[in-house]
């Protein structure tokens, strides 16, 4: 059998992508069909806004949120390492992660970006106090973490043999 492009150099031959598993191909086709059916309805209104939110959520997470918290963690680790207290980083990491999660989930209420008048009129409740409560929880988390560290250090000091000169 003669090749179809006998004289072309390798780089200029048409890109030949292997098919991959046919079963997986069929599954993916089914998935895209269903996603398309629902997607037409999802995009029926403000299609641009929805697309922006859909793709933007993924980009914002993968390219902003994740690098930010990863960099913060590396910075904390490096700082602890320079101070010769690498093991202590957990006592910052744990309360910071927990407090950060609460802030992430309840950001609109904590930051007061929810329409205050509507919140009050809808629920009959005050839109205030979320920031104060989050700060208090954060204080308790870091305070508790510091307390655990102090207790562990004292216990370790007690069990340490007398200083060797």
């Amino acid at each position: 059998m003669t090749p179809r492009f006998p004289r072309l150099p390798h780089a200029l031959r048409p890109l030949r992508l292997p098919l991959g598993s046919p079963l997986q191909l069929v599954l993916l086709a089914c998935s895209f069909a269903l996603a398309g059916y629902a997607g037409v309805r999802l995009f029926a209104g403000d299609w641009f806004g929805v697309a922006l939110w859909f793709v933007g959520a993924a980009l914002l997470h993968d390219l902003v949120l994740l690098p930010l918290y990863a960099a913060a963690d590396r910075a904390a680790l490096r700082a602890a390492g320079r101070a010769g207290r690498r093991a202590w980083v957990a006592y910052v990491r744990v309360p910071a992660v927990l407090s950060g999660l609460l802030l992430l989930v309840w950001f609109p209420l904590i930051a007061g970006q929810v329409d205050r008048r509507r919140y009050r009129l809808t629920t009959g409740l005050s839109p205030d106090g979320f920031l104060a409560r989050w700060l208090l929880i954060t204080a308790v988390l870091f305070g508790g973490s510091a307390l655990v560290l102090v207790v562990r250090l004292r216990r370790a000091a007690k069990h340490r043999p007398p200083a060797v000169h």
Partner: protein
Amino acid sequence: MGRAPPFRAGAAYRRDMSDRRLPTSPGFWRSPLRGPWFTSVLGLVLLVGITVLFVTGLVSYAAYNPGLTPVNDQTPGKGILGFYLFDWPTRPSWLYRLTQNVHVTLGITLIPVLLAKLWSVVPRLFALPPARSLTHALERISLLLLVGGVLFEFTTGVLNVQLDYVFPGSFYPLHFYGAWVFFAAFAVHVALKLPAALRNVRRARAAGGEPAPPREGGDLVSPRPDPPSVSRRGALWLVGGGSLLLFATTAGRGFDGPLRRTALLAPHGGPEPGSGPGGFQINKTAAYAGIDAAETSDDAWRLVVTGRTGTVRLARADLLRLPLHSSALPIACVEGWSTSDQWWRGVRLRDLAALVGYEDPAGVPDVFVESLQRHGAFRRAGLRANQVRDPLSLLALQANGEDLTPDHGYPARVIVPAAPGVMNTKWVARLTFGDL
């Protein structure tokens, strides 16, 4: 690094070095935590959790009885996506309270697991070559739907719960159709990955701890890991701790009294809006709904009941002279909060149907309920015959032994067992019995 490159390496060496500063190089990713076991455990938790979220979400749509009348349906263009719809039952009376509290509370609880799972696989976002095969290329496109979809669903849900309506459109169609787009990608992702995830976890269990170097998912393991600052198990404990904290500060909004006060940061957590018999949680206040006290006064307000035999107009005093019955029922909101059982007293809906020609309780029809409220999606609602027939379904006049407060629907409101909160119309003006 001050070392001079060895002579033979030349260009290849320089490329290697610059590669490590790019996320497309496996060497860029330094965490010793990443690996197939970690990802598999998180993936299996999400498989169970997200399946529950999807099912309870679909159930919530069915609870609105969207097939009964267009006013109940926020997604009328659903087509075959409503294939599963069924007549929503009235028992157990806490059914919607359970399913919707699970939907929202579990969703919030899963957020740390979701974030950890996404973190654990992020190197694959940048992996090269972009496609090894056509199947692989399509799978990567599908992953955009998966990740975009899951973040879209969690974000719209979390914002809606906080009444922060910044998303581009009405919540119901966005969350419902978004869920189906996500589910399409989720189902194929599970089909492609579940076998490997199960093998990874089983192998780890057989090895009595974290696994030996794997065959599948080995690309997640960093080729030059940093020294560990926490074990994989420790990291999982942190994820679990985050979930526990979110659960503990959210779950209380499904109950009245001291438990609600534990929901420190969640809307409808903390103290009740009022005190006394009518002090329990409110969805829309009378002021929000634009209810004028002049229209609800004894002189002005008349309930208009229409049916087979014509129309009856009843003052509140007339209603109080009809046989009154009691029901202990909760209010359960789509936003995932609910009250404990309140003690409602009023006229049975089926007794009102009897006034207009439907004397046989077995033959009561559907009812179309209209509120004094002038705007808002749920100022009108249709209830199905099984809901009208239930002896616990009332046109309530009192709550917890006193007249309804304006915010709870004075002069009269509907309360139906197991129905979503907004289907229990407040400030009722008109009931039209007949098949919808």
